[in-house]
Symmetry: C2
Subunit: 206 residues, 2 copies
Amino acid sequence: MGLYQRLKSDLQQGRFAPGRILKQSELAEMYGVSRIPVRDALQRLKSEGWLSGHGKRGVAVPLFDPLEVEDLYLMRTRLEPLLLELAAPHLSGEILGRAEDILDRMEIGNQLEAAEIGALNREFHACLYRPAGRRTLFATVEQLHQQCERYIGYQSRGLDYQAQSQSEHYEILSALRQGEIQQATCILGNHISAAGQALVQHLRNP
Amino acid sequence: MGLYQRLKSDLQQGRFAPGRILKQSELAEMYGVSRIPVRDALQRLKSEGWLSGHGKRGVAVPLFDPLEVEDLYLMRTRLEPLLLELAAPHLSGEILGRAEDILDRMEIGNQLEAAEIGALNREFHACLYRPAGRRTLFATVEQLHQQCERYIGYQSRGLDYQAQSQSEHYEILSALRQGEIQQATCILGNHISAAGQALVQHLRNP
DNA sequence: CTTTTATAAAATGTATACATTTTTATATGT
DNA sequence: ACATATAAAAATGTATACATTTTATAAAAG
């Protein structure tokens, strides 16, 4: 696994306190590599929102910012229903079946790691979105998801909205199966919006 | 000016043919630096859509993809009116005046370079959006703008929709001054949508 | 005691050199 | 002649070494 993946995973799991300033040499030693691959990884993580450029002072682990969460979920609320609508005509019964499998897997592993739940969650949405064949839109949505995951990792320690989230997921599938596309995109929008509000509230009442 | 800026500017001006594969050593020699800063720049440009990762074979200048343009403008159509709506309460008369100044500057320099027109255009929108104080949403919108500019640079050689675009800009300002926020966001949405369609059509009829 | 300036330490940026992987060209066998 | 295997090349990834910039420290002046 590349250094980029390792570092991201560690950031995701909250192994670096928000606000902390990371130095290249420090990370190089920590992971047993030279500074060159560290630089590459940092650059990527910075452009993906996992790290914030602290000017010339290096990079910092960004603080939790409720306003950022609001923005991320606002954008998702606007973009994901659109993407689902574009994908709907291509969603065969087989694809919907695969999506349901993913949901079931989430159900089973109730004591799953936050990272794993996040991965399955993303897989579920990707399963519904990818058939649209909209690479660019899909990539942007994926990026927003990833940026959200930093907060979700934090949230999952103190908040449990999994139950509600799951039932909404099943509702979306059901609507899609019945060809109620309008209905499905509507539920999806509310689903994302609700998740965002729960997260913001949790960040403001720690 | 950093190598990142120089390379991006050259890509923007179409100095590298779409589909061309760029090698690190080649670029290093071309710009008179070592491969290290080249790598940094390539990584950033890749994550911003200016270059596409060609797997392990290096990076490639992406081909013009009408579907990508459609996606970019679809996203902008959903996000920018939202951002303008959030900014509207903070748009003082002074700010609107500055926005108009930018429009006037675009009017004057009719024979401006494509890059300069693009920069002014972005400045105009940024002027209206920044007061919302929504850093994350703003950053995403900016990124979408930048990705569009690659195509606009190409378009500007064969298509002139500047006149219509300008008049719509003035309409938006006028609506904002009258407090017709709904009206302004609506014009903006149509404005972006129309620009996207013009661009897609031009790409399909070269 | 505070502020300023000079100096040292540390961190980032860049170049060169080496290692590993991937690609291409060549040779060999069927 | 074609396919496959093999060797040479070229390209990317990484480490070490050096240069430049930035930050912290300490000394000196007000």
